[in-house]
């Protein structure tokens, strides 16, 4: 068992929010076709408010702090926020499109001791990337920034989102990452927009295209093991928790709302009205999330995939029920292994059905909702 795994278990047992993802703004200089955010500023937190929250997170025991957005560098105080977090000895990770990173910013990130930087790159071809970001010249600026960051010895990961528009380029983007000497991740998940608009789901690659990716050893490692039919879930699986959301991790929006995870938009409290630990320990929503064991999931507990499925309770919540199946993950489990899910059997389907778009929950920042 790795040390990190042990510490995760310890945080789980003690209810410590070990990892927090904080979006410091939803504003962005790109307009990615698949982005789910509303980029207008509805009253994002001030520098002092964010610093105050970072102080509270240090007290709560948070170790990993991920700053993301929107585009973090659109905040003029961004490096000041990183410096504050580093002074409190957080392990800081940054997610950015890197368009605004030049040598000076790269040097600052290095000097401040940022541990990892994740950068969105959608293709090895400038025209494909720029068509997705809708910012002409963004590919050139982003890849140049990656070189600046690498020159500083920083750890960089290219994060690619697999969509219809760039499906043919995922290997090219992987080769680009290799050439730049950085890691590469590929995610086929496209989430509905925060305002409930589900039109962007049409960008998702069809499930029938997923086996190509799932059978690529350069992405999944041992294909036979990765695509093996699931073995029957044991007691440990059924007594297990769905994921870290609300147990050892949570998400904070630029408007100070707390959610269990960036992909689980269940409003659980607002840091302009309550202290972080008060929300973390006492929010009824987080308590509800924490109470769920795999055996409590009406459909999934009877599914052979439950032990190996990537079922995301946040995506299930967006479909209408955090205890329900996540159709996207049912699809992945089926196309990975060829074994139908309990959700498909229940609905009498031989192949996964299109997403139940009508049931998507409407999500908006709490401030907009007038909470």
């Amino acid at each position: 068992m790795s040390l990190m795994y042990e510490m995760n278990n310890k945080a789980f047992d003690h209810g410590v929010p070990l990892s927090v993802h904080m979006d410091v703004t939803y504003r962005c200089n790109e307009r990615c076709v698949h982005c789910y955010l509303d980029h207008d500023d509805h009253g994002e937190m001030t520098t002092a408010e964010i610093k105050g929250i970072i102080d509270q997170l240090a007290e709560a025991g948070t170790f990993f702090l991920t700053f993301s957005g929107g585009e973090v560098f659109l905040r003029r105080d961004f490096l000041e926020l990183v410096a504050h977090a580093r002074k409190l000895l957080f392990n800081v990770k940054v997610k950015t499109n890197a368009v605004m990173i030049r040598e000076r910013e790269a040097q600052e990130l290095r000097r401040l001791g940022v541990e990892q930087i994740q950068i969105s790159v959608y293709s090895h071809r400038a025209e494909v990337h720029d068509a997705i970001t809708k910012l002409p010249g963004s590919w050139a600026r982003t890849t140049r920034a990656i070189r600046f960051l690498k020159d500083q010895g920083l750890k960089v990961t290219i994060a690619n989102v697999l969509m219809n528009d760039n499906f043919d380029d995922y290997k090219g983007a992987q080769a680009l990452a290799e050439e730049l000497g950085v890691s590469y991740t590929l995610d086929p998940t496209v989430s509905p927009k925060m305002d409930g608009d589900h039109s962007i789901l049409s960008l998702r690659v069809p499930g029938t295209a997923l086996p190509t990716v799932f059978h690529d050893p350069s992405l999944v490692g041992d294909v036979a093991e990765y695509c093996a039919p699931p073995s029957a879930p044991g007691e440990d699986v059924l007594n297990g928790y769905p994921c870290s959301a609300g147990h050892t991790s949570c998400y904070i929006t630029p408007y100070a709302d707390v959610f269990p995870c960036v992909q689980f938009p269940l409003p659980s409290g607002n840091l302009r009205q309550q202290k972080f630990l008060d929300i973390w320990r006492n929010s009824t929503q987080l308590e509800d999330v924490r109470s769920i064991r795999a055996r409590d999931l009406p459909t999934c507990s009877g599914c052979g995939h439950v032990g190996t499925c990537s079922r995301c309770p946040g995506l299930a919540f967006m479909e209408g029920d955090m205890r329900g199946p996540s159709t996207v993950d049912c699809e992945k489990s089926f196309y990975r292994t060829g074994v139908p899910s309990a959700n498909m059997r229940r609905r009498g389907l031989e192949v996964p059905a299109p997403h139940p778009m009508q049931q998507l929950v409407q999500i908006a920042p709490a401030l907009v909702q007038g909470l």
């Binding site: 040390l3 310890k10 410590v16 025991g61 170790f63 957080f90 290095r110 000097r111 541990e115 020159d151």
Partner: protein, 109 residues
């Protein structure tokens, strides 16, 4: 016995979790956990207090251990963390800025 001074590198992330201290070097992501004795030394590693004094003042009274044993353990612990760039070791007191410069490594301005 010559004096040894220790200071925490600035290129680390650290947090206490249920009595144990997690430490990660941010450049190579080496991850350590420190037990309570090591944690006591770690928190006292200010660059200006001699290691022998840290052991006598922060370790011996709080943990049932003789000064000889404690000092031998402490030296080994310090050596290991120094190998990974997590602690700076010197035979003279270190100023905070000097520690920062030493630990910022390749590519730093």
């Amino acid at each position: 016995m010559r004096d040894v001074y220790i200071a925490r590198s600035s290129a680390i992330a650290s947090r206490v979790l249920a009595g144990e201290t997690m430490v990660m070097h941010v450049t190579d992501s080496t991850f350590f956990t420190l037990n309570e004795v090591a944690t006591a030394i770690w928190h006292a590693a200010d660059g200006v207090t001699p290691l022998a004094e840290i052991v006598t003042r922060n370790v011996c009274p709080n943990f049932e251990i003789t000064p000889q044993e404690a000092f031998a353990d402490a030296e080994e612990f310090v050596r290991e963390l120094a190998t990974h760039g997590i602690l700076q070791v010197s035979d003279h007191p270190m100023l905070a800025q000097a520690v920062l410069n030493q630990s910022s490594g390749a590519g730093a301005p």
